[in-house]
C-alpha cells in the first residue's frame, strides 16, 4: 500500500527541462538557473528554476501544452495565468512560494497529478476561492525524477533529494508580452524546485559543502539548448570584519542585489562560459567556512506566523493564528486569508484579535459564510501589526458530524485545514531599486519588490489536522446499530406500557358456543352478546 510508506515513491515521467533539451521545439528559449544559499543554521538551500518561453499563440491555435504524458489545455478564450505548487509549508524557512494567481480546482488537481504530489485536499468541494490565495497542496509526498540529463538537471538525483529536510515544487504558466505594445503574446512556463539540505544528515555535522557532497554529482556540461545556464552562490558575509567563507573555484563575477530587504552578494558561475567547465571537465563548487558559524538559533525574520488548533474533545475547538512582527520600530499591515472547510462551523462572533493585550480592530474584514457541502468559510482581514509584537487571531468552531459516507477512508487520521495565507509589505533594511525582470536573474521573480522601502512577502502557515467526531466503522458499529434497534423496540413497548391505562376486564363467561355465536353476530353486523 503506497500510503503506508512514509516516503511514497512516485515517479514523475518526462517532466523536466531535460525533455526540452533534446526535443528541439521551434522558436523556444530555455533559461536555467541554480541558486545556492548557505543558511545560518548550516543547512544549504538550493533553488532550481527552469524557464521556457514559447513564442507561439497557444490560444488561437488551441494547442495543448504537451508536458510529457500529461497534457493541460490552456483555458480557452482567456489568458489567465496558471500556477500551482506542492509545498509543505514550514514557517522556519525563508523560502516563500510565490504564486500570485488564482485558479480553479480541477486544473490544480490536474497539475497535481502531473507533479505527482499526491495531494489530499481538505475536503470534497472545497475549492480555494481566490482573492489573494493560491492553491497549495497541504500534504504532499516526495517525488522522484526520471529525467533526461543535461545541464543543471544533472544534479537532480532522486535519492539525494530524499536526504533533504524541505522541498517545494512549483509550475507557473503565464502569458508574456513580446513587445511594448503587447500586440502578440508568448507563453512562459516556469518550473521551480527548492530543496534544503540538512547539514546534520548530509554533512555529518560539518558545515562545509560542495555540489558533490550534496547531490553526489558534479556539473559536466551546459544544456546545449539553454540560452542561459548559471549557478549563483550566496556569499554574503554575515559580519563585516573579515571573510567568513570561501568558495572554490573562485567566481569570475559577482552580483549584488537586495533580496527580502537585505543586501546580498552572489558569486556567478556561467556554464556557457567554456573556460568554466573545460579546465577540469567538471565543475564542483565548494564552500568552506573560515570560521564556522556558532550553533545558534537562526535570525528571526520580521514577519512569521504560527497556527494551531486549541482545545480538546470532539465538540468544539479554536483556531489560533499567531502573527509575529519582530521589527523593532515599524508597524505594518498584513492581509490574512483563511479558508476553513464547512465542517468546522465557525462562530464568527468569537473572532478576537489581540496585540499586546489589547484588542486590535482590523481595518477590513470580508467574511463569506460556508454552505454545507458546497463552499468553505472565507475570512479575509487586513490587520495592522504593531512593532515588536505578537498578534493572536482566534476564532472558535464546532466540529460537524458528517454523513457517514462523507468520511474519508482513513477518518481517524483527521481532516486537513489548509494553511492561512499572509500577504504583507515588510519594511526592508536596505532600499532596493526597481528591477528589470528580463535582465536580472530568474530567482528575483521569487522575491518581487514593490517599492524601495518595502518588500512583498507571502507566507503560508502550517496546515492543520483536525479530528472530527468519527463513528466506529468497524464491527462494533454494526453492534451499535443492532443495539439501537433492540433498545428502540424495548423503548416502544415500555412507552406503550407507561402511557396506557389498564382496565380489568370482567372475566369471560361462556365458552366456545358464545364465542361462535358472537362471531356469527359480528358477521351479521349485530352487536355481540
Amino acid at each position: 500500500m503506497a500510503a503506508a510508506m512514509p516516503l511514497a515513491l512516485l515517479v514523475l515521467l518526462l517532466l523536466g527541462p531535460g525533455g526540452w533539451c533534446l526535443a528541439e521545439p521551434p522558436r523556444d528559449s530555455l533559461r536555467e538557473e541554480l541558486v545556492i544559499t548557505p543558511l545560518p543554521s548550516g543547512d544549504v538551500a538550493a533553488t532550481f528554476q527552469f524557464r521556457t518561453r514559447w513564442d507561439s499563440e497557444l490560444q488561437r491555435e488551441g494547442v495543448w501544452i504537451n508536458l510529457g504524458r500529461s497534457s493541460v489545455m490552456s483555458s480557452q478564450g482567456s489568458s489567465a495565468p496558471l500556477s500551482t505548487s506542492s509545498t509543505p509549508p514550514t514557517q522556519s524557512l525563508p523560502l516563500p512560494p510565490s504564486n500570485p494567481w488564482v485558479w480553479p480546482m480541477t486544473l490544480t488537481t490536474t497539475f497535481c497529478a502531473m507533479l505527482c504530489c499526491r495531494g489530499r485536499w481538505s475536503a470534497p468541494k472545497t475549492s480555494p476561492p481566490g482573492r489573494s490565495s493560491c492553491p497549495v497542496v497541504p500534504r504532499a509526498s516526495l517525488i522522484s525524477f526520471h529525467l533526461l540529463q543535461a545541464g543543471l538537471s544533472v544534479l537532480l538525483k532522486a535519492d539525494r533529494l530524499f536526504h533533504t529536510s524541505y522541498h517545494s515544487q512549483a509550475v507557473h504558466i503565464r502569458p508574456v508580452c513580446r513587445n511594448a505594445r503587447c500586440t502578440s503574446i508568448s507563453w512562459e512556463l516556469r518550473q521551480t524546485l527548492s530543496v534544503v539540505f540538512d547539514a546534520f544528515i548530509t554533512g555529518q555535522g560539518k558545515k562545509d559543502w560542495s555540489l558533490f557532497r550534496m547531490f553526489s554529482r558534479t556539473l559536466t556540461e551546459p544544456c546545449p539548448l539553454a540560452s542561459e545556464s548559471r549557478v549563483y552562490v550566496d556569499i554574503t558575509t554575515y559580519n563585516q570584519d573579515n571573510e567568513t567563507l570561501e568558495v572554490h573555484p573562485p567566481p569570475t563575477t559577482t552580483y549584488q542585489d537586495v533580496i527580502l530587504g537585505t543586501r546580498k552578494t552572489y558569486a556567478i558561475y556561467d556554464l556557457l562560459d567554456t573556460a568554466m567547465i573545460n579546465n577540469s571537465r567538471n565543475l564542483n563548487i565548494q564552500l568552506k567556512w573560515k570560521r564556522p558559524p556558532e550553533n545558534e538559533a537562526p535570525p528571526v525574520p520580521f514577519l512569521h506566523a504560527q497556527r494551531y488548533v486549541s482545545g480538546y474533545g470532539l465538540q468544539k475547538g479554536e483556531l489560533s493564528t499567531l502573527l509575529y512582527n519582530t521589527h523593532p520600530y515599524r508597524a505594518f499591515p498584513v492581509l490574512l486569508l483563511d479558508t476553513v472547510p464547512w465542517y468546522l462551523r465557525l462562530y464568527v462572533h468569537t473572532l478576537t484579535i489581540t496585540s499586546k493585550g489589547k484588542e486590535n480592530k482590523p481595518s477590513y474584514i470580508h467574511y463569506q459564510p460556508a454552505q454545507d457541502r458546497l463552499q468553505p468559510h472565507l475570512l479575509e482581514m487586513l490587520i495592522q501589526l504593531p512593532a515588536n509584537s505578537v498578534t493572536k487571531v482566534s476564532i472558535q468552531f464546532e466540529r460537524a458530524l458528517l454523513k457517514w459516507t462523507e468520511y474519508t477512508p482513513d477518518p481517524n487520521h483527521g481532516f486537513y485545514v489548509s494553511p492561512s495565507v499572509l500577504s504583507a509589505l515588510v519594511p526592508s533594511m536596505v532600499a532596493a531599486k526597481p528591477v528589470d525582470w528580463e535582465e536580472s536573474p530568474l530567482f528575483n521573480s521569487l522575491f518581487p519588490v514593490s517599492d524601495g522601502s518595502n518588500y512583498f512577502v507571502r507566507l503560508y502557515t502550517e496546515p492543520l489536522l483536525v479530528n472530527l467526531p468519527t463513528p466506529d466503522f468497524s464491527m462494533p458499529y454494526n453492534v451499535i446499530c443492532l443495539t439501537c434497534t433492540v433498545v428502540a423496540v424495548c423503548y416502544g413497548s415500555f412507552y406503550n406500557l407507561l402511557t396506557r391505562t389498564f382496565h380489568i376486564e370482567e372475566p369471560r363467561t361462556g365458552g366456545l358456543a358464545k364465542r361462535l355465536a358472537n362471531l356469527i353476530r359480528r358477521a351479521r353486523g349485530v352487536p355481540p352478546l
Binding site: A3, A4, P6, L7, P88, P89, T90, S92, P138, R139, A140, L142, F162, H163, T164, S165, Y166, H167, D198, F200, I201, N295, E296, A297, Q306, Y308, V309, S310, G311, Y312, G313, E318, S320, D410, P411, N412, H413, G414, Y416, E462, P463, L464, L465, V466, N467, T470, D472, S474, S493, F494, N496, L497, R500, F502, I504
Partner: protein
C-alpha cells in the same frame, strides 16, 4: 412485554418479586462478585493481539547503539542538576541544540491550594525544556512525544540521558514522517500538565505559564520514561491515567511485542505475568494483577506523567525501569532499542490509534478482558438496587392505594437538601477554611484541610437527628408509618443506582469497587431491626471507609502489608492527595465522592435513623 401489560400476570410477577426479593438480591450480588472473579479465567480473559495494521509486524531493525552516550549525558545532567539544585535548563537547551533539535523552553508557576506535604511543595515554579525533531519534507501536522518527568529529587537522570541519546540517533535518520517532541518537564506531573495545557492553549487547572513558541501539530502518541539506574532488571509499564482513562490497547501491545523481541523482562503492576493459564495458579496470580489494576484505576490519579496526556486524546503510557536483585540485567541500549522500535512503529501510523480497545482490564501483560465481558459484573450488583427499589415501589403502591392525604406525608425530599448541602460543604470548606483553621488550631494547612474533611464527614452523621425531628411531628401517621422512610429509601436507591451506573460506564473499577461495598448495606438499611449493627455496617461501607479498606488491600496485594497506624497515616495522606489532585490536574474522584456519593450515602443514614 405482553407479560407486563396483562394485569393478572403482572400481579403474579409482582408477588414473585416481593416474595423472592431477598434471595434474588443475594443471588444477584453473589453472581456479580463471582462474575468478576471469573474474569481471570481463560474463556473470559483473552490473549491480546495487535489490531492496527500499520503496526502489524515487528520488522524494524533497531540500530540504536548509544548506550555510552546516554550514560555520559546522564552523568552530565546529574552533575549539572546537583550544582544548580533545579533542572539545568541552559545545559539541556545547549545539549538538545547540539544534537540538532529545535529547542524551546516554557516557564510555569502554580500556587497549590495548600502545601503538598508528600512532595514538599507549595509555590511551584519551574521550566520545561523541549526539543522538536522536525520530520523532513513534511508539514508538521502530526507528532509523537517522548517525555521524561523530573522531580525535585535526583531521580530520572538516566531517563534524560537516554532521551538525549535517542534524540541524537533519531536526528540522523531520514525516515521520520511525524515530528518527534523530546520533552523534559520539571516538578514531574505539574510540569507535564503545564506543557500540555499550553500546547493545547487551554487553562483547565489555573496554571500560569508562558505560551509555547514551537508546536508540532496533533500529537498522536506519547511515551513517558522513568529510569534511575544505568542497568535495569525489568521494565514496568503503567497504563492507568487521570480519572481511570486508559490508552488504546494497541499501544500496550506494541510495547509488549518489543519486549518480547528484545527479550526484555516486562511487568505490569510490578508483577510478572503467569505463563500457565490452564491451571489454577495462573489465574490466581492474574487476579492479583487485576485487583491491583482495579484499585489503581479506581483511584483516578495519573500513575505516571502519561496519565495527563489521555485527556487530550493522546495515547500514552509510562515505562519504568526497575532495578531489583535479579541476576540478569539489561543496559540502556536494550531499553533504547525497545523505544526506538516503538517510535518507528508509531511513525508508521496512518490514523490515530483507534482499532483496538479503549476500555479493558488487564490480568497480565498479554491478557485482557474486554468491556463486554466485565460489565455484567457491575450490572449484577446494580440489579440488587433495582430489585430493592422495585420491592419498595410495590410496597408503597399497595400501602398508598386509596390513602392519598394531601400535604400529610412528610415527603422523602426532606433530608435531600441538607445532605446535598453537607456534600457541598465537604467539597468547598476544607480548602476555603484552611486559613481560619490554622489561626485557631495548632495545625499546618495540609493537616487543617484533612482534619476539616474528616470533621465535616463525621458531622454529616449527626445530621438526621437534627433536621427532620421538627418535621416528623407532623408525620406520625397511624395508617402508614413506614411510608416516609420507604419513599426516602426508594429515592436513595435510585439515586445510588444512577450514580454507580454512570461511574461504572466511565471508570469501571471505581464503579465496581463502590458497588461492591455500598450496595449490600444500602439494600439492608431500614429503621427497624438491629440498628446498631446496620449503623456499624453502614459506616464501614461509607466512601471514606472504602478508601481506607482499599489502601490496606492495595498494600496487601503488593506484598507490603500495612500496620493500622501506617494505614491511618497513609489514609490521611491519600485524602490530602485526592484534594490536591482535583485542584492541580482535575481529577474527579474528590468531587464525585463529596458531591455525589457522600450525600447519597447520608440518605441511607437518614433512612436508618428515621423516626
Amino acid at each position: 412485554m405482553g407479560l407486563l401489560s396483562d394485569p393478572v400476570r403482572r400481579r403474579a410477577l409482582a408477588r414473585l418479586v416481593l416474595r423472592l426479593n431477598a434471595p434474588l438480591c443475594v443471588l444477584s450480588y453473589v453472581a456479580g462478585i463471582a462474575w468478576f472473579l471469573a474474569l481471570v479465567f481463560p474463556p473470559l480473559t483473552q490473549r491480546t493481539y495487535m489490531s492496527e495494521n500499520a503496526m502489524g509486524s515487528t520488522m524494524v531493525e533497531e540500530q540504536f547503539a548509544g548506550g555510552d552516550r546516554a550514560r555520559a549525558f546522564a552523568r552530565d545532567f546529574a552533575a549539572h542538576r546537583k550544582k544548580s539544585g533545579a533542572l539545568p535548563v541552559a545545559w539541556l537547551e545547549r545539549t538538545m541544540r547540539s544534537v540538532g533539535l529545535e529547542v524551546y523552553t516554557q516557564s510555569f508557576s502554580r500556587k497549590l491550594p495548600f502545601p503538598d506535604e508528600t512532595h514538599e511543595r507549595y509555590m511551584v515554579s519551574g521550566t520545561n525544556v523541549y526539543g522538536i525533531l522536525r520530520a523532513p519534507r513534511a508539514a508538521s501536522t502530526e507528532s509523537l512525544v517522548l517525555t521524561v518527568p523530573c522531580g525535585s529529587d535526583s531521580t530520572n537522570s538516566q531517563a534524560v540521558g537516554l532521551l538525549l541519546a535517542l534524540a541524537a540517533h533519531f536526528r540522523g535518520q531520514i525516515y521520520w514522517a511525524k515530528d518527534i517532541v523530546f520533552l523534559v518537564t520539571e516538578h514531574d506531573l505539574l510540569g507535564t500538565e503545564a506543557w500540555l495545557e499550553a500546547y493545547h492553549d487551554v487553562n483547565v487547572t489555573g496554571m500560569q505559564s508562558s505560551p509555547l513558541q514551537g508546536r508540532a501539530g496533533a500529537i498522536q502518541a506519547a511515551v513517558a520514561l522513568e529510569l534511575s539506574s544505568d542497568v535495569v532488571t525489568s521494565l514496568d509499564v503503567a497504563v492507568e491515567g487521570l480519572n481511570g482513562q486508559l490508552p488504546n490497547l494497541d499501544l500496550l501491545n506494541l510495547f509488549q511485542t518489543f519486549c518480547q523481541k528484545g527479550g526484555l523482562l516486562c511487568t505490569l503492576q510490578g508483577k510478572l505475568q503467569p505463563e500457565d493459564w490452564t491451571s489454577l495458579d495462573g489465574p490466581l496470580q492474574g487476579l492479583q494483577t487485576l485487583l491491583l489494576m482495579v484499585l489503581r484505576q479506581a483511584s483516578g490519579r495519573p500513575h505516571g506523567s502519561h496519565g495527563l496526556f489521555l485527556r487530550y486524546r493522546v495515547e500514552a503510557l509510562t515505562l519504568r525501569g526497575i532495578n531489583s536483585f535479579r541476576q540478569y540485567k539489561y543496559d540502556l541500549v536494550a531499553v533504547g532499542k525497545a523505544l526506538e522500535g516503538m517510535f518507528r512503529k508509531l511513525n508508521h501510523l496512518l490514523e490515530r490509534l483507534h482499532q483496538s480497545f479503549f476500555l479493558y482490564l488487564l490480568p497480565g501483560l498479554s491478557r485482557f478482558v474486554s468491556i463486554g465481558l466485565y460489565m455484567p459484573a457491575v450490572g449484577f450488583l446494580l440489579l440488587v438496587l433495582g430489585l430493592k427499589a422495585l420491592e419498595l415501589w410495590m410496597q408503597l403502591h399497595e400501602a398508598g392505594m386509596g390513602l392519598e392525604e394531601p400535604g400529610g406525608a412528610p415527603g422523602p425530599s426532606v433530608p435531600l437538601p441538607p445532605s446535598q448541602a453537607m456534600g457541598l460543604a465537604l467539597y468547598v470548606l476544607p480548602v476555603l477554611g484552611q486559613h481560619v483553621a490554622t489561626q485557631h488550631f495548632p495545625v499546618a494547612e495540609a493537616e487543617a484541610v484533612v482534619l476539616t474533611l474528616l470533621a465535616i464527614y463525621a458531622a454529616g452523621l449527626a445530621l438526621p437527628h437534627n433536621t427532620h425531628r421538627p418535621l416528623s411531628y407532623r408525620v406520625v401517621s397511624t395508617q402508614a408509618p413506614d411510608r416516609g422512610w420507604m419513599a426516602l429509601k426508594l429515592v436513595a436507591l435510585i439515586y445510588l443506582a444512577l450514580q454507580l451506573g454512570c461511574i461504572a460506564l466511565t471508570n469501571f473499577s471505581l464503579g465496581f469497587l463502590l458497588a461492591t461495598t455500598m450496595v449490600p448495606t444500602a439494600a439492608l438499611a431500614k429503621p427497624h431491626g438491629p440498628r446498631t449493627l446496620y449503623a456499624a455496617l453502614l459506616v464501614l461501607t461509607s466512601p471514606a471507609a472504602t478508601l481506607l479498606g482499599s489502601l490496606f488491600l492495595w498494600r496487601e496485594l503488593q506484598e507490603a502489608p500495612l500496620s493500622l497506624a501506617e494505614g491511618w497515616q497513609l489514609f490521611l495522606a491519600a485524602l490530602a492527595q485526592g484534594v490536591l489532585e482535583h485542584h492541580t490536574y482535575g481529577a474527579l474522584l474528590f468531587p464525585l465522592l463529596s458531591l455525589g456519593l457522600y450525600p447519597c450515602w447520608l440518605l441511607f443514614w437518614n433512612v436508618l435513623f428515621w423516626k
